[in-house]
């Protein structure tokens, strides 16, 4: 996945001279995860810029660059390091189109490596998506496959709106037989995909939890459950139609994500599914999420992250008989 992301930026930069990559360590080092590797060498430091270490400054200057017609791609090294930039994000990035009645859209892509499962110490593993999805004006996407890493990042950079691009850190090293495709070859932003068809229940998930759900779906076969797995790919806009169609087919749903459950995206999705599928549901919509705790230290994270067992337990609870 890491190489697909790099390739997406490289191709975008080669095609469009207004695309600029910026952030802490993105130049000479190629980023702490090496996602920007080689870009400074190929396109020069003016196109792939090592900035001073200040996230509000990084995003704030990107706003000005976008105001002048550039397409900045900003790297926020780690999820929890993005917080100093929140005022810029919420007060300006998300609102500029609206404030100016469409006269000044900001085509900024904000890459945020997020989530746990890599043994990182605190402040390196937050699942911060709930903050972003609660902010009108932001598009929020998260790839779970190598193909999507490329396609969604290309689509994000091409978008005239600001996009928070959440990169699941633990999938950086995932591999796939893959060759870069035109963004049109994979569905763009705003479309969910059924990654596995099934008839017994739908697992609704995204990003780092997709492989876990697929694994759970395989394991559930032994229990006689044929699970459908929907990968949202984009949290805002939310592809309600794909989700609703799936749940109406299966009659049961579990939402799975790493972020805490209270006020997390799963709460919204469960509510929407209940509103739209009430008469099709055989059981309440359940959620399997991270605990509502600050991200735990690495030696304890396995207890926090929703795993196959917890998903299977929820699936078992879907055998709702009142």
């Amino acid at each position: 996945m890491a190489q697909a992301l790099t390739r997406a930026m490289r191709d975008a930069m080669a095609e469009d001279p207004t695309v600029h990559v910026m952030g802490e360590d993105v130049g000479t080092l190629g980023g702490v995860f090496r996602i920007t590797d080689g870009l400074a060498k190929e396109f020069g430091e003016d196109r792939c810029t090592d900035t001073p270490l200040a996230e509000a400054g990084i995003l704030g200057t990107a706003v000005g660059m976008a105001m002048y017609g550039l397409r900045p791609v900003v790297e926020m090294q780690f999820d929890a390091f993005a917080y100093p930039a929140f005022e810029q994000l919420i007060s300006h990035v998300a609102k500029m189109r609206n404030r100016t009645r469409g006269a000044m859209p900001l085509p900024i892509t904000i890459r945020v490596p997020y989530g746990g499962g890599i043994g990182g110490v605190e402040h390196h593993c937050d699942s911060s998506e709930a903050y972003y999805v609660a902010t009108p004006g932001l598009t929020v996407v998260t790839p779970a496959t190598v193909e999507d890493a490329y396609g969604l990042l290309r689509a994000s950079i091409a978008s005239d709106d600001p996009v928070v691009f959440l990169e699941p850190k633990r999938l950086y090293w995932s591999k796939a037989d893959w060759s870069p495709q035109a963004p049109a070859a994979v569905p763009g932003i705003g479309k969910a995909l059924v990654r596995r068809t099934g008839t017994s229940a739908t697992l609704i998930t995204y990003g780092p939890s997709l492989p876990v759900c697929l694994e759970a779906a395989e394991a559930a076969r032994e229990e006689g459950w044929d699970l459908e797995v929907v990968d949202l790919r984009s949290l805002v806009p939310f592809d309600e139609e794909t989700v609703v169609a799936s749940v109406r087919r299966t009659g049961r749903a579990v939402v799975v994500h790493e972020a805490g459950g209270f006020g997390g995206p799963g709460a919204e999705i469960a509510a929407r599914v209940t509103e739209r599928c009430f008469h099709h549901l055989e059981a309440p919509v359940l959620r399997v999420t991270g605990f509502d705790i600050p991200y735990p230290p690495p030696m304890l994270e396995k207890h926090h992250l929703p795993g196959v067992e917890r998903i299977l337990d929820a699936v078992a609870r879907l055998q709702w008989e009142n």
């Binding site: 600029h20 003016d46 900035t51 001073p52 200040a54 509000a56 400054g57 995003l59 704030g60 200057t61 990107a62 706003v63 000005g64 660059m65 976008a66 105001m67 002048y68 017609g69 550039l70 900045p72 100093p84 005022e87 810029q88 007060s91 300006h92 609102k95 500029m96 189109r97 609206n98 404030r99 100016t100 009645r101 469409g102 006269a103 000044m104 859209p105 009108p136 004006g137 598009t139 978008s159 005239d160 709106d161 705003g190 805002v236 806009p237 939310f238 309600e240 139609e241």
Partner: protein
């Protein structure tokens, strides 16, 4: 035992590492003057350009009238709120005057006068404060960024825009305005640092008007002056009398010239005074005395300039009358514009959130449309 007494803790036992870093410049040229720079009432006034000063005078009078009219409009309920710049007109006007057409202005919520002096229609400048929309103009058309209400957050935008323009090879300078309170915000520091590191063509203008709402400068900073803050970032700091439009024009012009020629950013602190309350909703008598306000009246920017120009024969009664007439015409047109009820379309609420409306917003827009239609029929 203290740390110093520990074996091996002495400096003589410590190998000296090779220097990885050295200061690049002597800080002295970056330091501001000890006193605010002045032109009016000094020998420097001998160099004044009469035509420029007559224009400055007319703009100041117009600016004062604009402030008075806007304040009156709040009393009539035509403006939701107005943060006055009475006393600060020289800063506002000089900031607009020193910019070329292709340059950009980054105003704060208090700087509508600077936007008007740059040529923006006063009604468009006041849209935010009237409450019919957030920004009443196309920023690209006027090269005026939206008025920024969160403090200092527009400063990194100015840096990014100026940097982008330079990367494209365009001759563009960005001038960003902030108040004394805004210099305490993190974005102020990050913007100055980025600008200096990138040598961005930016001018930072701090209007030190004495108070951040009610908090005086002494509780805002322990620095000798706000201009001193420049030195730590590696850019020149200038301290200037913000009520002396000739000094303001000179110092700002010099900073713009420096930025345009690749010399990088400058931080300017204009020492001025907010004669009125923070906004019409604020009670300034709770935090400052009349004596202080009275003392500043003698240092009014219009008084200072009028005295100098009439003494030198640059301005006569006819000139003063002409300036006042021009200001009255502006006020009349502003009144007309504001007295016309703004046309607001509720469906605009959903029109500019995303390039393409989401299903969710389409649903909510449909709900509002139905409510409006029901209202119409009732």
């Amino acid at each position: 035992m203290t740390v110093q007494e520990l074996p091996g803790a002495g400096a003589s036992h410590r190998p000296t590492p090779p220097p990885a870093w050295r200061p690049r410049t002597d800080a002295a040229p970056l330091l501001p003057d000890a006193e605010p720079y002045r032109v009016l009432g000094t020998e420097a006034a001998d160099r004044l350009d009469p035509a420029l000063m007559r224009r400055c005078y007319a703009e100041l009078v117009r600016g004062r009238r604009y402030n008075a009219q806007a304040t009156a409009l709040t009393k009539q309920g035509r403006l939701a709120v107005y943060p006055s710049t009475v006393g600060q007109e020289a800063c506002e006007i000089a900031a607009a005057m020193v910019l070329e057409e292709q340059d950009w202005l980054f105003p704060s919520y208090r700087d509508t006068l600077a936007a008007v002096a740059r040529g923006l229609d006063p009604v468009q400048a006041l849209t935010l404060l009237r409450g019919d929309w957030h920004t009443g103009y196309d920023p690209r058309e006027h090269r005026i960024a939206p008025l920024s209400t969160p403090l200092a957050t527009q400063l990194p935008h100015a840096v990014g825009l100026a940097h982008a323009a330079r990367l494209r090879g365009d001759d563009v300078v960005a001038l960003a305005m902030v108040g004394d309170g805004g210099t305490s915000e993190g974005d102020f520091h990050e913007a100055l640092n980025f600008a200096a590191v990138w040598k961005a063509p930016v001018v930072f203008l701090v209007q030190n008007n004495g108070f951040a709402i009610s908090v005086p400068l002494a509780k805002q900073t322990a620095a000798p002056t706000l201009a001193h803050k420049a030195v730590g970032y590696g850019m020149p700091g200038r301290l200037v009398d913000g009520n002396d439009i000739a000094a303001m024009h000179e110092v700002l012009s010099e900073a713009v010239r420096r930025a345009r020629s690749g010399g990088g950013p400058t931080l300017i602190e204009a020492v001025t005074y907010r004669m009125e309350a923070h906004t019409n909703a604020d009670d300034a008598t709770r935090y400052r005395g009349d004596a202080e306000v009275e003392a500043w009246k003698a240092h009014d920017p219009i008084v200072l300039l009028e005295r100098e120009l009439t003494a030198r024969g640059i301005l006569d009664e006819a000139g003063i009358t002409a300036a006042r007439d021009e200001a009255e015409a502006m006020a009349a047109s502003l009144r007309d514009g504001m007295n016309a009820d703004p046309v607001v379309d509720p469906m605009d609420l959903f029109a500019h959130v995303y390039a393409e409306q989401t299903d969710r917003l389409r649903e909510q827009a449909a709900m509002l449309r139905a409510e409006l239609e029901a209202e119409d029929q009732a």
